[in-house]
Symmetry: C3
Subunit: 357 residues, 3 copies
């Protein structure tokens, strides 16, 4: 647990310095390239607090309510950034953030935890039933639900695309809740393997109930405020670094938004709890694909520019390739350093591609 | 068996009323929207008689001849409707009917039987070797054989596309018969699991040999006659309901044509014989993809407009997505209500898409 | 072993006649259609000597150096033909040769050995961990690394496509060596199954160290010289047979280049060593996709026309379909004659398609 505590101290210092600096910089109008860095690191620190308070509440509230909490707050950063971008009419930034979250969870978070865990342990194994359940949903959400409106968008009117998108979004959200119901109620433990019962030690929450709620609320509001500022710096940063906005949205923001999850997944892999790492990586991807993205599609109807569920070609293909590779690697319930490296190499290829766009 | 007998009574009444009404309506020129309903329900009833007489003959003739019979009559409705559409030059209706049969078998028939069976039983398991054999063929037929001419059609002349289509059609039919030879002759029982031997109770045919043949012949002729009339109503129905012809062809006709199979698959799932449900759903898809479709391609050379094996983009993509999702769900040899629901949700998404086209 | 010795005699005679005939024909300017045949058969004979000397050296040097040798010389024919084509600026011939090698290894070499082995043995089984390791890399290389630049090529400038290609090529080569390191060093034997230890009998090299090196060097130089001439005959052959250059590059050259490997794979299948056949087919595909192709991309920067890693649509789709089918068939670790036939049928379909282009 020591490594984790040290990490938590680092996040504490980041928040202690980052929040006042973000506030100061915003009001004093500091250079936006520099503020891009400040906002990013601050969000990264705050995300760790959101994650830890959600974890504590999950332990306190039990797995069912905990599951719902984790759905709502698990990708709070991505959701918050996206709602601000939606309100500002930057639909392409929303889709880029979703794409980035899917790709970085599947390739970078899973890849780095398989790789680092695999350097310590020759083979790490996890429950293939849980993994296949999740991979089936990945196929449903990314391959079926995202590809389908993309193909149909060329044949039907823009209004019909919006109705189709709304219909798909509603079906995805319902199926996502059905999946929670399946895992937490009707089939709780049905597919469990015997050795998995040793996980009980986790059951002590880090913080008490009210402390968790206050930290969660404060951190969530802070993330919302900082995210709003972050989105506004994209244009300037894109110009001064020579990065495209797409590269910032898909690669940089995703690395920042997933940093806390990434650390947690690697930490779990080093404890030989690779099933938790897989759950973080794939579970988080599914939250983005089956819950956050459809919610954003539905919310967008309240704003001036409704957002159809139609990703740009390169974004969609990158997600598809990530899903196919992840299915191939994860499907056998066995990981090692080489499988992790393969996923990371795919991430680097995609990052290079978006750098050039 | 009681539920099945009640169902059979319903089909008896449907045929008893539907056949005279169809005849009367055709000769008296009743409104075609209304007749669309009458024809559809009549075909649905007749399909159940074709299915039951084929089953009886299969039991009487043994598995080898029975397999051939089931190939020939198993999708008699789709084949008959399609030959009439082919003769009338409605090539797009033929391809739509094939697409609809593939999608509805894989997603609706399999999905509803997994879902309803899964509500009664927590987990249902089937032989993964048989399933993988079938899924390999699905990959061969839909992914390889259907995608390939689609891509090449843009680079070669229309005549060459026809020759390529004919070549692929012949290879598919030969491989389909090789698959029957493999399962019924060289590898009969090689991949069987021990518990599967309890299936013997089925071995009493419902009807005798000659009764079955007479019922089969009569029902097949009746289906042919009614189908011919049904195809003619499409245009009017499309207009009065605001449905596209594509939606009728891919969604409505497929639900009607597969209704009897769908009932049988659900019935088997409720008897915990999920392997039979999978066989009905995937086996029927393979009959359509590897036997009926190629036969229609070859038959079309006898008519004025030969039909290339080139599906419209949306139809092809919908089949591809269905196959990928079905492979992911079926590959592990284990089903539950949630897997069924996932398949059904994919079907609903595709149905909404075709509604808008 | 007798069948193999007879085969070796045939190859000896081929080389004995082929090399002088090739030399004579080249200097005397014989008809190029006829010389196409002479060159092809000579290369086929020489390839068997390269294969056997590499095998002998692998046994002598141990598996680690042996693995490196096999990487370098395993696809010497394809590499040599391609470098000459690259120098001559025939980039499409290089990409066609790579495509042909991938498709024919996955479908023809694997298919024919599963089919012929399956006629002798009802079921043949191999280590699924090794197979899945290789299939994961196939997904990485063909599906991720080849598709990605294809999609991005439309959005970025030609120069950027070249940089992206170079980046991907370097990553692929590094990952290929990491895969060797994984299999030969860190995870040697980790995924082995117990029965596999009976392979020891192979450990006597056919030839001594120096004899092997001399044969290897001589055969490699001879292949290089003959390949150079072979490439020059393509245009005339295409014209006189009515074949397209694409058909020659993708189908004919691949069959010639893989002939020795194909014989070896079938021979191993008949010895019930189907794991060696799979290793030959899939391992060779990976060499082409992850080592030879990226090396050619990097080498091409030294010539006038650098080659981007962008395959023509039909070539890319054909590879994708082959990979998906092969994954579906190979993934279960169990083969039979029907699975072999399915792969071969897919090969025939693709060959017909390229015949028409």
């Amino acid at each position: 647990m020591k490594g984790r505590k040290d990490m938590n101290k680092v996040f504490f210092i980041i928040v202690l310095l980052g929040v006042p600096l973000s506030a100061a910089g915003t009001f004093l109008g500091w250079d936006s390239t520099w503020m891009f860095g400040v906002y990013s690191v601050t969000i990264l620190g705050l995300a760790s607090y959101i994650g830890r308070s959600t974890d504590s509440l999950s332990v306190i509230a039990g797995p069912r309510i905990g599951g719902l909490l984790s759905v709502t707050f698990g990708n709070a950063v991505e959701l918050t950034i996206s709602i601000f971008a939606l309100a500002a009419g930057y639909l392409h930034i929303v889709l880029a953030a979703m794409t980035g979250a899917v790709i970085s969870n599947l390739l970078l978070v899973a890849g780095s935890s398989f790789f680092i865990g695999g350097i310590k342990y020759k083979r790490q194994q996890f429950n293939i039933y849980d993994a296949r359940h999740n991979l089936g949903l990945l196929m449903f959400s990314v391959v079926v639900s995202f590809v389908f409106p993309f193909i149909f968008a060329e044949k039907i009117s823009d209004d019909e695309v919006l109705w189709l998108s709304a219909g798909i979004a509603i079906i995805m959200i319902l199926l996502y809740f059905a999946a929670l119901f399946f895992r937490l109620v009707t089939h709780r433990g049905v597919y469990a393997e015997k050795e998995e019962n040793g996980d009980k030690e986790h059951e002590t929450p880090e913080w008490g109930k009210w402390k968790s709620i206050i930290i969660l609320a404060t951190a969530a509001i802070a993330v919302a405020l900082v995210s709003d500022q972050l989105v506004d710096t994209f244009e300037d940063v894109a110009e001064s670094f020579g990065w495209s906005e797409v590269f910032i949205g898909i690669i940089i923001v995703a690395i920042i938004g997933n940093f806390a999850e990434n650390i947690a997944a690697i930490y779990m892999a080093l404890q030989n709890k690779i099933n938790v790492s897989v759950e973080i990586a794939v579970g988080s991807t599914l939250q983005i694909a089956m819950f956050v993205t459809p919610i954003l599609v539905l919310l967008s109807f309240m704003f001036a520019n409704p957002m159809p569920l139609v990703f740009p070609t390169e974004a969609l293909i990158s997600m598809l390739l990530s899903v196919f590779l992840a299915i191939m690697i994860i499907n056998d319930g066995d990981t090692n350093w080489f499988e992790g490296l393969t996923l990371m190499c795919a991430y680097i290829i995609i990052a290079i591609g978006f750098y050039f766009i």
